[in-house]
């Protein structure tokens, strides 16, 4: 198991290094002068030169990348070109909001999706199964940002039950929960359907296996077989998909954050792209990549814990 984990960690470091190289290459291939955007139309060429020098933007791209990696080793993600704030401070303020949103969205999707999938699998082709199938297929295709807009209009504007913007007062948990309900619902709804379909298919397959027949022969009840013995096996592919899906969830959160004016990583990256604020963009994407890697690493390890065959293969 330890060698398996070490191998996965090694692969993750490789992914991270590749991400940094690709990121720097892409950012500096994209046209647009950060100095022009930061200083505005009234800046002279001389002023732009001074700005580029002060921010190290006049250096060749490999040198900038080297400086970035050197600083990264000391926990410094660079300086925001526009506000001169440390990028780490901006990312540090935005990160918890996005992670909370993504995890809450995924959390409630799991809480609802897994039981729905189980009920469907235990009563295949019943009315309940068909109804759950209809609901889950319908919500899978619903884009989260579109849902976010409708939720906003219904619950914030018309009913005025929940707030329409922001992430809530820092330190006020109740207020933060209020601000989280609608965006988390929008982010997670598509996943409810997806998880329900996945659990159903996986559980149905597991229930056909020989060891399940043996449990039946011993007189174990269907519910106990499904919940106690089949579900943990059926969850292995679900866990793997969730790991990959967390990346999609983070990108889905970008649009939802814009709709709800939530100052998370998504809107930070969006602003950084439009203003060619490369240090903020690099910092944001790097942290997102780290999150993605961490999620995948966790699911790989969790899958290996759930399925001994994976450990043996490793």
């Amino acid at each position: 198991m330890i060698s398996y984990v070490l191998r996965q960690v090694g692969l993750s470091v490789g992914v991270l290094v590749s991400a940094i190289i690709i990121l720097f290459s892409l950012i500096y291939l994209v046209p647009g002068d950060p100095a022009t955007i930061a200083l505005g139309p009234r800046a002279s060429e001389q002023q732009k030169i001074v700005f580029r020098q002060s921010m190290g933007l006049d250096q060749p791209v490999p040198v900038q990348a080297f400086h970035f990696v050197s600083k990264l080793a000391t926990g410094d993600l660079g300086t925001d070109l526009l506000t001169r704030q440390p990028v780490l401070r901006l990312v540090g303020a935005a990160l918890p909001k996005t992670v909370t949103l993504a995890l809450t969205g995924l959390g409630w999707a799991l809480l609802l999706g897994v039981p729905m999938g189980c009920i469907s699998a235990m009563r295949p082709d019943s009315m309940t199964d068909r109804l759950i199938g209809l609901v889950s297929t319908s919500v899978v295709a619903l884009p989260s940002f579109l849902l976010a807009i409708y939720l906003l209009i219904a619950f914030a504007v018309t009913l005025r039950w929940l707030p329409a913007m922001g992430a809530g007062e820092p330190g006020d948990i109740g207020d933060q929960i209020q601000h989280l309900i609608l965006p988390a619902f929008a982010v997670g709804l598509g996943w409810v359907g997806y998880i329900a379909r996945l659990v159903r298919a996986s559980l149905l397959e597991t229930l056909q296996e020989n060891h399940v027949r043996t449990y039946r022969a011993f007189g174990v009840s269907d519910t106990r077989i499904a919940m106690r013995y089949a579900l943990p096996i059926a969850m292995i592919p679900v866990v793997a998909v969730i790991g990959v899906g967390l990346g999609n969830l983070l990108s889905g959160a970008v649009l939802v954050e814009v709709v709800f004016s939530r100052p998370g990583l998504g809107s930070l990256a969006h602003d950084a792209v439009t203003t060619r604020n490369s240090p903020v963009l690099v910092g944001t994407v790097l942290v997102t990549t780290l999150l993605y890697i961490a999620a995948n690493l966790s699911t790989d390890i969790l899958s290996a814990l759930l399925d001994p065959r994976l450990r043996k293969e490793a």
């Binding site: 002068d33 001169r84 704030q85 929960i177 814009v258 602003d271």
Partner: protein, 519 residues
């Protein structure tokens, strides 16, 4: 060892209680948070603060806050007409164009214990625009400054090297005229970013949560007219549609809205304030592109476009067509075109130039209104035999291509839509069309030395009638080049509660927070 265990019933009970708690808190909390609470105003801001230094500030997103936390000698008047009124100055004399004596109101205190505002601070604030260390982006606002002579603790004279007409229109009342604290800046490296170190306006910056909220509270050291609100919270929201929704949901008290929303807001529950913007949107043509190098082709395009029809299709009756680049409230705004819509003339010009089956592209940033305008023009140009390709792209990428003098990709630009905003003086409108701006901000690449000379002369002319006529002539000459199709100036629209006495600059660009009050 004692372990705590929950059974299924207990877990279900706890979850139900938690759910009800959250729902209850949400319902109760939300319903009590509508409208203006006490003396706190929640207002939209078009972006987060980036740089609060008068010499190197970013844009409106900074200036709205700056006008509330700093004081200038004078300030913009709110209302429908441009003008100035006293701020930190007790009196100021604008009769002599080269020497402007002023006297500060005694007893104005800097925040953070930096003492009283003095004429030393005024001298430092204005003269630092020429300091290379400051790298002042707005240095041209004080180009004409010779020195600020100090008479005594509160008095001084602003001495200019040459007459400068925009001094009282776009320098002193604007953010370049705000006074910074000499002692605080000298102590902190001479440059402000998002921490102003010390301020002397009616409000002070008490809290800033990046990209979330800017909180202003009363400045106890302010001895001028007392502002109404105890606290003002500015919410940086780039998307006006999202801000409008937040207003409808009661999360914002005051917000700017898109022009496309104005029609449906008329006669609604909220107060709608619409002001003519100090902006100008036009279609430019790159005269150095081979397809557009013949003036007859450019003129044909000018005359093939029915601008009133384009504007009506795009905005309904919310926006008026433009007749030049200078917006109507400013001196020099034109009232007619030299080459209005005339498809027959356009066809004749194309035939004379020997051009047929012309395919040409117009590029612009991600603006939904301009996309509609482009589609209408597509139909109009088709009537004279021109095929228009409408291409929307990232605005920063387009600007980078237009400014790409090294790579030369600017040559591929044919036509483009572009919007500029301006300070309330015509000199800042025409500045960008000079020869030294070719490839910088003059993407039409039109260049005429005599035009530049006339433009410089207009900024030194103090006779208002003469000055206005000079700017009309300058715009006539731009139209003569054939490289410009003037489209619209736009509007700024705001929503506020019925009981609020809103205060904005005449163009509606800046909310004047210190003057906002409940009626």
């Amino acid at each position: 060892m004692k372990t705590s265990r929950f059974n299924r019933r207990q877990i279900l009970k706890s979850m139900s209680a938690a759910t009800l708690g959250v729902a209850g808190a949400s319902l109760l909390g939300k319903n009590s948070a509508f409208a203006i609470e006490g003396k706190t105003l929640k207002i939209w801001n078009d972006g987060d603060i980036r740089n609060l230094d008068p010499a190197t500030r970013g844009g409106w997103y900074d200036e709205t806050t700056m006008f509330a936390i700093f004081a200038g000698l004078v300030q913009f008047k709110s209302g429908d007409t441009w003008g100035w009124q006293l701020d930190a100055a007790e009196n100021i004399d604008d009769k002599d164009p080269l020497a402007i004596p002023f006297k500060l109101r005694p007893g104005m205190m800097w925040t953070n214990g930096y003492g009283e505002v003095t004429s030393e601070d005024v001298k430092y604030s204005y003269e630092r625009f020429a300091d290379p260390k400051v790298n002042a982006v707005y240095a041209s606002d004080w180009d004409a400054l010779d020195t600020v002579e100090i008479t005594d603790k509160y008095s001084g004279v602003i001495k200019l090297k040459k007459p400068f007409a925009p001094l009282f229109t776009s320098t002193l009342p604007h953010a370049s005229g705000l006074i910074v604290c000499k002692a605080a800046l000298e102590k902190n490296g001479g440059v402000i970013t998002t921490d102003p170190f010390a301020t002397s306006g009616p409000y002070q910056l008490s809290d800033w949560k990046p990209r979330e909220r800017i909180t202003l509270t009363r400045n106890p050291g302010w001895n001028g007219p007392k502002p109404y609100f105890d606290e003002i919270q500015l919410y940086p929201i780039a998307d006006k549609t999202a801000a409008e929704t937040a207003f409808d949901a009661g999360d914002l008290d005051v917000t700017s809205i898109n022009i496309s929303s104005v029609g449906q807001r008329k006669g609604g529950d909220a107060t709608l304030t619409v002001r003519p913007a100090l902006a100008y949107t036009w279609m430019g043509m790159n005269v150095e592109n081979p397809k557009l190098s013949d003036i007859r082709v450019r003129r044909a395009i000018q005359q093939a476009i029915n601008v009133p029809e384009v504007i009506s299709a795009t905005f309904g009756d919310a926006v008026e067509p433009a007749y030049g680049i200078i917006p109507p409230p400013l001196p020099g705004a034109r009232t007619k075109l030299l080459y209005p819509y005339n498809p027959a003339a356009a066809k004749a010009l194309l035939a004379e130039a020997g051009v047929s089956n012309l395919t040409i592209k117009v590029e612009f940033g991600t603006d939904a209104d301009l996309l509609v305008a482009g589609q209408v023009m597509q139909a109009q140009l088709a009537e004279v035999g021109i095929t228009l390709e409408v291409r929307q792209m990232d605005g920063a990428t387009l600007t980078a291509q237009q400014q790409d003098e090294k790579g030369g990709t600017w040559k591929d630009i044919e036509m483009f839509f572009i919007t500029f905003t301006t300070a309330p003086d015509p000199s800042w409108v025409t500045e960008w069309f000079k020869c030294d701006q070719v490839g910088v901000w003059n993407f039409q690449r039109t260049c005429d030395a005599s035009w530049d000379k006339e433009n410089d002369a207009a900024s030194e002319e103090f006779d208002e009638t003469k000055r206005a006529q000079m700017y009309v002539d300058l715009q006539d000459k731009l139209e003569e080049t054939g490289a410009y199709v003037f489209l619209y100036h736009g509007s700024n629209a705001w929503l506020s509660p019925k009981g609020l006495k809103g205060a904005w600059t005449p163009d509606g660009q800046w909310a004047l927070l210190r003057e906002m009050a409940l009626a």
